[in-house]
Symmetry: C2
Subunit: 274 residues, 2 copies
Amino acid sequence: MRHEQNPGYVHGYDAAEQARLHDQATTLEALLHHDSHFPDGGTVLEAGSGVGAQTIPLLRRNPGVALTCLDIAPSSLAAAQERIRAAGLPLPVFRQGDLRALPFGDAAFDHAFVCFVLEHLPDPGAALAEMRRVVRPGGSLTVIEGDHGSVLFHPEDPRARAAIACQVALQRAAGGDPEIGRRLVPLLRRADFSDIRVSPRLVHADGSRPALAEGFVRRTFAAMVAGIRDEALRAGLAEPAAFDAGIAALHRTAEPDGCFCYTFFKATARVPVG
Amino acid sequence: MRHEQNPGYVHGYDAAEQARLHDQATTLEALLHHDSHFPDGGTVLEAGSGVGAQTIPLLRRNPGVALTCLDIAPSSLAAAQERIRAAGLPLPVFRQGDLRALPFGDAAFDHAFVCFVLEHLPDPGAALAEMRRVVRPGGSLTVIEGDHGSVLFHPEDPRARAAIACQVALQRAAGGDPEIGRRLVPLLRRADFSDIRVSPRLVHADGSRPALAEGFVRRTFAAMVAGIRDEALRAGLAEPAAFDAGIAALHRTAEPDGCFCYTFFKATARVPVG
């Protein structure tokens, strides 16, 4: 089914990847979504909803909105549907389609939401322009993206840095930008949004937060980098032993005397009126 | 008077540096100190109080404590006294002395506070051991430090990174560690503190926060790096034109479409009872 999906999605689509996305969403939910609220009765588009990892917190926090989930991959939409049903939440409308040419009329939604998606797009500005088109004047856009350049850890280790650099290189080669978080303001400005506000969300794990060290450092970040091992080796970006040492060094930062920080960027903006 | 001061203090002691420290303290005060509270009636040691940049927010927030400020440089203690008097705040006790051999008896204080100091010490563990000695069992230590490895900005620019690297190299050559923030947990563990909690404080400046872009990016961070220009050139770490281009690139990140993030680490810990 790979051909139905976005071939440039560096993380792939297998079951382990879906479990990783789910763990990540659970661990980070409060940090990223405590303020993901939309007014009751509003229509909301989640663009690039994937397997529903962010859809579930959106639905939990916004029982009064009419949510539409769009993704290019039918298998992801099916997985999201299953996951949302399993969570006992009401199903949103699912729609297959391309972010660069949204299958909706102008001003069709009150709000749009996009999370961990722009980082994978060769032209995030085109997707933002489409979201601006389908949101009514006065409506809002919420964007959440990471930035791999924000990674800070102890003990420092060049092998860990090299493994992360493999991920960055692969994502860039696929046309994405894993350091897009810091660029949200200029991207939103260029797409003619107004009232742009960015709020960084720093995830910090250390010996005083063992659950986060496990849930975020080991099972989310290190697992994400480990997930591109084969592709990195095939691309000649790393030798197997060096790459594995880098993953081990990332796990080392989750020990009680270690430290790991990662910063997500959450932006809100409005479609100007008139 | 340089010989009376800490010769390893990379930022120097001149008036511009004092103004910079004051601007930094004002801009960052809420972020770093909103929870710098000590119980009324307690005795608090500020170790390495310098020119009083952190003393003023401490005094403002804790009118009911008996504060003692210790620094190795008499000129800094004099500057702090003048600044605190000008701010209309009650004067703390000033004491000249060395962090490695505090001129106080065991358990002399209820609490100790140290901010932007450990990063300059060749042996921060020795200073922590001394603070542990002079705080009573059950009393607390608060530590605030930066981490230059946390710097994240847009537009990315290797010349800006190179200028920052000069600062890091000089501070390391003087025996300090400008990336100490991420190491607070292991440092405090090794010094036998308990109940260690670390809370990162991310400063984020972008086009939606022009005051912070001015106050933190230009007048604090870029000014700090610019302040080591002569020393970096003398040490052969940079060419003048390249260094100046790096400073300009840092200022560029404070433009409306730029972004600049820096993370401070605030730790609290207790001296174990019994």
